[in-house]
């Protein structure tokens, strides 16, 4: 590894991180601002966090967001896990390539298109737009992420462990619940956390598929910002950043710990063999 310190490297890293994080940092700092004016610093205070608690509209929006997040993350994780198991385990079946392509296409699909097409479906089916349509839409797009996370784990899973379970008399379904699921559980948890986080900060798709009475937090923030940024928005945004950071970090941590453990086991097995 090249550990030589160079001014060029240091500068580019500083600039890069500054570019990424200064806006966020400013937002967090100004959420603790005493002044009502967002751009003028008037000393530390947590009063905007207090006033958040009295803002019924924001609280409602937060409640909708959390319900949508829990619902869509749970369903998306179940569906994504099933899709990943099918893709990795069922071997070659007609249309496998098409199926896997179709699972991953929404990952690169622009949100606007996903949102618009879902809106068209809901209108065509005559669904009342609101909590359920947002949840459905979020399930649709977060499921692909869940499938990718679980699939990565399944791919380096020793297939003979499942064969051993079946050999010992477990049916395929009971093999899945007794053996496969407990072993891939960490990746299923990180898939859930990722899906929840994605659902939490989605604005575009939610805006397309929402209806009266179901406003998510990002939508609420966006509409308020158009009327002028208040320190309350900064406060709620800081909380959101906190939740998302915790979610993403724990997903990464769980995945990392799992891959470390697998690596350790592999090294141990190799050591025992050699």
């Amino acid at each position: 590894m090249n550990r030589r310190f160079s001014w060029f490297n240091a500068t580019s890293i500083t600039l890069g991180f500054a570019f990424l994080y200064i806006p966020i940092l400013l937002l967090v700092i100004f959420s603790f601002n005493e002044s009502k004016l967002v751009t003028v610093w008037a000393g530390w205070s947590t009063k905007w966090y207090g006033s958040l608690l009295e803002n019924q509209a924001l609280k409602d929006a937060a409640w909708v967001t959390i319900r949508v997040g829990l619902m869509s993350a749970t369903v998306a994780t179940v569906l994504g896990t099933l899709a990943a198991v099918t893709l990795v385990r069922m071997g070659r079946f007609p249309g496998r390539t098409l199926f896997s392509g179709m699972i991953f296409a929404p990952l690169v699909m622009p949100d606007v298109i996903t949102g618009l097409s879902l809106l068209l479906v809901f209108v065509a089916l005559g669904f009342d737009r609101g909590f359920w349509t947002i949840s459905l839409a979020h399930i649709t797009f977060t499921m692909c992420y869940a499938a990718v996370v679980v699939q990565a784990r399944l791919q380096d899973f020793d297939k003979s462990i499942e064969e051993a379970a079946m050999d010992l008399g477990a049916t395929p379904v009971s093999t899945f619940f007794q053996v496969t699921l407990p072993i891939i559980a960490p990746s299923v948890i990180s898939a859930w956390l990722l899906s929840f986080t994605l659902s939490l900060d989605d604005l575009v798709i939610a805006s397309f598929t929402t209806g009266p009475g179901a406003t998510t937090l990002p939508m609420k923030i966006y509409s308020q910002v158009r009327l002028g940024v208040t320190p309350e928005i900064n406060a709620i945004s800081t909380i959101l950043i906190g939740i998302v950071t915790v979610g993403v970090l724990s997903a990464a941590f769980i995945t990392k710990r799992q891959s470390d453990r697998m690596e350790r086991e592999r090294r141990k097995a190799f050591g025992a063999a050699g």
């Binding site: 050999d167 010992l168 072993i183």
Partner: protein, 406 residues
């Protein structure tokens, strides 16, 4: 009272002739009499526990197993032997139910199980990678199969304990697989495979991951478990020594085809083809044509000018191309010219491989052929040891070699 017991015994014996027959045949220790007593394949009244009937397995255009018909009998320790890619593992996996044969039938204990899924078959397998459940303890792993049967908990604990004590695993009961050494994991895998007391245990390269010393111990352990449980074991291995050590019979496979099925002794002494002769043990092979056929013996004109006389049961005709296979330990090596001129060739010692108990002598003959002879280093000191560049004579009796036609 005595009469009553005798009468009862007679009834029991009559009711279960096969079991009694097999157990009485297997009573003596195997090491004392390698293949003499136990030979159910020679008994036409016994029906096999496993029968492969014309099994073929194709993966796209690749034929992994080609029209294999094979009978395996109860209480056998049967080895499928061959180099990697010869189809032996595929055959085993078809018996376990993980692969479906393209053609043919698999019959276990008279029942056609070709279409049964793995979880309904009366066989249990020990995997090459052990395939232990990483999230369960040793106990949990061994009891897994019993739990699937819905056996009551105290009964499971009893059976798990029995399997653990048989394999000396009791002190590891609460450990997870990643807290065990390779040898311990291997024993857990074996305990798990026998815990359900299946009729047949399949072993797919079970000792491949162990080092040589541990492997030899494990081989004897396998034999001990197989004999105490009286289960039929079928092992897949590419290690010919392992197959010779553990098996009652060996099936040698090459490119998906069964080449020979016989006892280890038969395979070694009477290999059917040059491939088998070379695969199992060392061998010297002379190519030639049949010159004359006499009373039980044939004369061979070897390609390099020698004339050999050898006993042969192989039906051959004069002028036919044959190969004479000679095991190194059946060739005598000496400084003096032997009294009889039959099968004697002079040569020069080129290399000596000293292995302690035995020595290999590589002798170059006048026409340039290289022959390996083997001699046990029985005496502590030898007056005139054979050394490099010595002129020596090699000779062997008429019944030392095997005539091969393929």
């Amino acid at each position: 009272m005595q009469n009553f017991r005798d009468a009862l015994m007679a009834v029991v014996t009559a009711g279960n002739p096969q079991a009694n027959h097999a157990s009485s045949q297997r009573a003596g220790p195997r090491t004392a009499a390698p293949q003499s007593g136990f030979a159910p394949w020679k008994n036409p009244s016994l029906s096999p526990i496993v029968r492969f009937e014309g099994i073929t397995k194709r993966f796209d255009d690749f034929v992994a197993v080609n029209d294999v018909t094979l009978d395996i009998y109860e209480k056998e320790f049967f080895a499928l032997l061959g180099p990697s890619g010869c189809g032996k593992s595929t055959l085993l996996r078809m018996l376990a139910g993980f692969e479906r044969p393209t053609q043919g039938k698999t019959i276990v204990a008279g029942q056609d199980i070709t279409d049964l899924p793995p979880y309904q078959r009366p066989v249990n397998m020990m995997f090459q990678s052990y395939a232990l459940f990483p999230h369960m303890t040793v106990e949990g792993n061994i009891g897994f199969g019993l739990r699937q049967e819905g056996m009551p908990k105290n009964k499971i604990a009893e059976r798990v304990d029995e399997a653990m004590s048989m394999l000396e695993l009791r002190q590891f009961a609460k450990r997870k697989p990643n807290q065990l050494s390779g040898g311990q994991q291997q024993r857990v895998a074996l305990a798990r495979a026998i815990a359900k007391k299946p009729r047949i245990v399949l072993l797919d390269e079970p000792l491949g991951a162990l080092d040589k010393k541990l492997r030899q111990q494990a081989q004897f352990e396998l034999m001990r478990i197989q004999e105490t449980t009286g289960t039929t074991f079928i092992i897949v291995t590419h290690d010919q020594e392992e197959a010779m050590t553990v098996a009652s019979r060996i099936a040698v496979m090459e490119k998906g085809v069964l080449v020979q099925v016989a006892t280890p002794g038969d395979i070694y002494e009477n290999p059917k083809t040059r491939y088998i002769a070379g695969f199992i043990g060392d061998v010297n092979i002379f190519e030639g044509t049949v010159a004359a056929i006499g009373d039980g013996c044939i004369e061979i004109n070897a390609k390099d000018g020698y004339q050999f006389k050898t006993r042969s049961s192989e039906p051959v005709t004069v002028g036919q191309q044959v190969w004479l296979a000679l095991r190194p330990e059946k060739i005598r090596i000496a400084h003096e010219q032997p009294a009889s001129a039959i099968n004697a060739i002079p040569g020069k010692v080129e290399d000596i491989g000293y292995l302690g108990s035995i020595s290999h002598y590589h002798v170059r003959t006048a026409p340039g052929e290289r022959i390996t002879a083997l001699r046990a280093n029985a005496a502590h000191t030898v007056e005139r040891p054979i050394s490099w560049e010595d002129s020596v004579w090699l000779d062997w009796p008429v019944d030392a070699g095997v005539v091969l036609t393929g």
